[in-house]
Symmetry: D3
């Protein structure tokens, strides 16, 4: 542990995921004292039509 | 918040997801006093062969 | 299946959870054709200080 | 209940998922006294580039 | 990875959780070729009144 | 969206959670182009005896 699950509508580039994973892992070590080797992060890229805010689906998938 | 995650085996049509999201968001406002604008809902449509009940996978994906 | 996970900050009364569970189970049967007996719903009542929106924790637990 | 979610990077064969589901359902009945018919298991097969350990993505999808 | 989340209504003894964790970790190594050291398992023990099946809460907490 | 769930064994102080939430929300805006107001983060602080690595529970709760 820790286990971090990041769920977004749409997609991120590999480069974005790489940097987000680095920064969050760093934050958890620096602030939370969690050794980097213990941190797992998974990204779930959800189709827009599978995500609703305020009762409305976000949009059609492109 | 709230965050609602709905996981089903197989798929739902866009029309079904739209109506389910509307109704659940309405329920959470009317019964739980959660303003609609705060409610996030995500749908995870799981392949049948990735879902087991009673130790048996649900079926092949079509 | 379906499996529905409802995560809120703070708590709901037993009466609220009862009615929310009934309504969501009904919605999934009526709209999604999921037999009521298959629907599992879990509620996670998260302490306010464990939930952040826009980078800010929601508040102290009372 | 119980609801078990298994998240792995990459994929498993149908045969592997079948056997894993059987064994976990058996474990939960034998050790945890949970009747087999109540156990739901879902598998999430996550693309390698969506999983990070120690701040590093696991690899490119093949 | 893998990351396994086990959600049950009520509680398990430490002894039960110990044995369930051992067996599932063994299953994932033997069947899924996942080295034991990579497997994380978390147990969520949900109050009965926070779990509904077929639209009905499971019971009062004792 | 995004929705981020952080699961750790043990607890974090309010101050740690505050800073982690700020930094992750900032990362998602700066790297992922997600407006801060859309980001929800929840922390699940799991008892040590409910978390296993390599088939072994992490320890007794203190």
């Amino acid at each position: 542990m820790p286990y971090v699950n990041i769920r977004i509508a749409g997609t991120l580039s590999r480069e974005q995921k790489k940097q987000i994973a680095e920064e969050i892992t760093d934050t958890l070590e620096r602030v939370g004292n969690k050794p980097k080797s213990y941190t797992y992060i998974s990204f779930d890229e959800i189709p827009h039509e599978n995500w609703a805010i305020a009762g409305t689906l976000l949009g059609e998938d492109k």
